[in-house]
Symmetry: C2
Subunit: 387 residues, 2 copies
C-alpha cells in the first residue's frame, strides 16, 4: 500500500484510467481530498460502495498507482501526446463554464479532469477564436459541401474549427479548415493514439501536424457509446459557438447544440431542404430552441459569434460566463471542489488569494449566480438547469 503519487497530474491520469469522466462520486472525492488523496482513498478502499465497485477490480488486479502512472506517462509520450490539467496555462478557461452545469443526474455535464493532447499548438490559444462545426456521420453530399465550405471560410478568417473527428460533417469540417491551412481541433471519443474512426487516419495525421487532437481518455482507450456523448460537452465548452450542419431527428450533434445552449454558447444551424431527413433534426432544433440562429455562410457565423447581444446569446440571463469573471473569481471557482461544500478560508488558501479578497469575490460570485451560500457559512457551486 505504498508507492503512492506525489503530483496531481499523475494522479488525474491514473484516475481517468480507472473511472470515466463525469463521475459525481469521484469528482466529490477529488474535491474533498485532492487528486492525490483520491488515488490514495481508492487504493485503501476508503470510498463509497459505488466507487469501490467501479474501481475495485482495476485496483486489485493492476499495478500500484506509481507504476500505473509511469505506464500511462510512457504511453502518452510514445504517441507524442501530453496531459493538460486545470490550472495549466494552456488549459482553456472556457472549459470552466462546465463547472456551472454539473448535476448529479447528468454526469456528462461535468468538466474533464484532464486532457490528452497531440499536436504542437497551445490548446487555450488555439481555441480562443474557435467555432464547432458538427453534424451527421451519414451526411449528404449537400451537407458535406456546406460543412467544408463553412469551415474553409472560417479558417481563412482566423477561426479554429473544432469537431469530433467523425465521418460525414465532422470530417468535411476538419478537411475544409485543413485545406485552407487553417487550424482545427478534433475532440475524440477514444485515446489520441487510436483516433476513431480508422477511415479518417490520414486526416488525423494531418490534424496532429497542423492542429490538435484532444481526448479525455488515456492512450489505448477504445471508443464507446457513452464517450461519444461525453466528448460533445467538451466540443461545446471549448468553442464560442456551435454550427449544426446536418442532423437526422435523433442525431448526436443535437446534444452538442443542447450543451452549447446550456453553456451560453451561440447555437447556429444551416438549413436544408425540408424534404431531407438529414435536415430534420436541424429544423427541429430551430423550432425548439428559439435562440438558434440560421446561418448560410461563414460571415454570418462570425457575425453571430461577435454580435453578442442578449438575443443572439442563448445564455440564461443570470449566468456570467467564466471568461467574464475577474482572475480572482476564476481562481476561486477553479479551487471550489466540484459538488463539494467548502469554507471560504479553505477556498482562499486553495486559490492562493488573501481571505479578504476571497470573501469579497465570493459575494460577487454569489450575486452572479455561480455559487450559493449554505446556512453554516460555507459555499458550493450552483448548478444551472437548462432551459
Amino acid at each position: 500500500m505504498n508507492t503512492m503519487l506525489d503530483n496531481p497530474r499523475a494522479a488525474l491520469m491514473v484516475l481517468s484510467s480507472i473511472v470515466e469522466p463525469g463521475d459525481a462520486d469521484l469528482d466529490d472525492l477529488i474535491g474533498e481530498a485532492g487528486p492525490v488523496g483520491a488515488v490514495e482513498a481508492l487504493w485503501s478502499g476508503q470510498v463509497t460502495e459505488r466507487l469501490a465497485r467501479l474501481s475495485g477490480a482495476t485496483v486489485a488486479a493492476g499495478p500500484d498507482p506509481a507504476r500505473r502512472a509511469a505506464a500511462l506517462q510512457e504511453a502518452t509520450e510514445a504517441c507524442g501526446a501530453r496531459v493538460l490539467i486545470p490550472g495549466d496555462a494552456d488549459w482553456p478557461v472556457r472549459l470552466c463554464d462546465l463547472y456551472r452545469l454539473g448535476e448529479d443526474d447528468d454526469p456528462h455535464l461535468r468538466p474533464p479532469r484532464c486532457l490528452w493532447v497531440r499536436g504542437e499548438g497551445d490548446l487555450a490559444a488555439v481555441c480562443r477564436r474557435s467555432v464547432a462545426v458538427v453534424g451527421a456521420r451519414a451526411a449528404s453530399e449537400y451537407g458535406k459541401h456546406i460543412a467544408g465550405w463553412l469551415a474553409a471560410d472560417l479558417a481563412e478568417a482566423g477561426h479554429t474549427v473544432v469537431s469530433g473527428g467523425a465521418l460525414g460533417i465532422d470530417r468535411a469540417a476538419h478537411q475544409g479548415a485543413l485545406g485552407r491551412g487553417g487550424s482545427t481541433v478534433a475532440v475524440l471519443p477514444a485515446g489520441v493514439d487510436r483516433p476513431y474512426p480508422r477511415a479518417n487516419q490520414a486526416m488525423f495525421d494531418l490534424i496532429v501536424q497542423r492542429g490538435l487532437a484532444v481526448s479525455e481518455w488515456p492512450p489505448g482507450t477504445a471508443p464507446a457509446r457513452h464517450r461519444f456523448l461525453a466528448r460533445m460537452r467538451v466540443i461545446a465548452a471549448l468553442t464560442a459557438g456551435v454550427v449544426v450542419v446536418e442532423a437526422a431527428r435523433r442525431s448526436g450533434a443535437l446534444h452538442t447544440a443542447e450543451y452549447a445552449a446550456r453553456l451560453g454558447r451561440v447555437v447556429m444551424f444551416t438549413p436544408g431542404p425540408v424534404t431531407s431527413s438529414l435536415s430534420e433534426g436541424v429544423h427541429r432544433l430551430a423550432r425548439q430552441h428559439r435562440g438558434a440562429r440560421l446561418v448560410t455562410r461563414a460571415e454570418e457565423v462570425i457575425e453571430d459569434l461577435t454580435g453578442r447581444t442578449d438575443s443572439t446569446r442563448s445564455q440564461p440571463a443570470d449566468v456570467t460566463p467564466f471568461e467574464a469573471l475577474t482572475a480572482v473569481e476564476q481562481w476561486l471557482v477553479e479551487a471550489m471542489p466540484r459538488g463539494f461544500i467548502a469554507e471560504d478560508t479553505r477556498l482562499a488558501a486553495a486559490a492562493g488569494v488573501p481571505v479578504d479578497a476571497a470573501t469579497e469575490a465570493l459575494q460577487r460570485l454569489q450575486h452572479r449566480g455561480w455559487i450559493e451560500q449554505i446556512n453554516d457559512g460555507r459555499w458550493r457551486l450552483r448548478a444551472v438547469t437548462g432551459s
Copy 2:
C-alpha cells in the same frame, strides 16, 4: 355638375376607378367628407392640387359620377362579381388592422376602400381560418412541391389558403388547396374579370368556382407594378399568418412577410438549401426578423398560428389587433376617418354609439395605442412604425 351619387358603395367604386388605393389625400378627403362627398369634391374641383392633377383628366373627359357608377356596376355584374365595402357583414375585420399602419410616406399600408369579389363564399367567413402561402414566381421544383404539399395539408385541416394567383409558389399553393377540395382565395393585382397571369386562367376558373378571387380594382383594370405591391398588404391583412416558401433576395414575397410582421401576423418560412438562390431571401428573412418561425410541414404552421404566445407573435407589444377590440371599439375605429382628426361627438354619431359609451371606449383605444388625443380634445388614429 349634377347627376351625383346617393350611396357610399357606388361612390367608393367610382373613387377606386379614378385614384389608386392607398392615396393619403383621397383617404383624408373620404374621412372628412364621406365617400359621396369625396366624389362631389372631385367633380367640383374642390380638392388638393395633387388630387386635382391625379383625377382631372378622368373627371373632365369621362361620364358623370352616376353614369360612371352605373357602368362599373354593369361591368361588375357582367363578370359575376360584387363589391364589398367596410362595414359589410362579409368585410373581413382583419383588414381593419391596416387602419393602424397608415402613414403618409407609405401609401401601401392603408386599408382597401372596397373589394371586388368573385365566387360564392362569404369573404369574412372564408378568411377567418386562413393562412397565406406566398413565394417566388420563378420557383424551383422543390419550392413548388413544398408549397403544394403545405397548402394541401392546410386545406385538409380546414384552413383557407390565400395567395396572389401568380405563377410559381402562388400557383402551387392554390392548386394544392384546390386539389384537396379546400377553399382558396386569390388576391389579384388586376381586375377580377382579367386575372393575371393568363397562363393561370384554368386555375382562376376553378378558384372562382370553389373559392374567391379578390381585387381592389374595378373590372378591366390591367396589372401594374405598384398593384403587385399593394395587393401584398391585403394578403397579409386577410390572414392569420404568412408562410414564405421560396424567395430570391429581392423577391416581392418578402414584402408580404414584412407587412405581416407589422400587422402582428405570424411570419413563417420554409427553409431550403443554402446553395439555392431561391431560398436566399427566405433565409435572410429568418436572420433579419427574429420572430420568423421555421416551418417544415402544415402541422407546424397550425401550431404556430394557434400557439399565440408573445414569442411566436411578431407583433409589437403595444398593438392590440383589431379582432381583440370590443364591438364598440371596432365601430369607433372604423368610423374614425383615416388620417383625419375627429371630435368624439362626431365619432360617436358616425359609429352609432352613445356619446358616453364612445368616450369610455376612446379612452381604452388610446390606452391600447390605437388612437391619440390631439390637444384640442379631438382624436386621430395613431400610426405604428414597423420594427
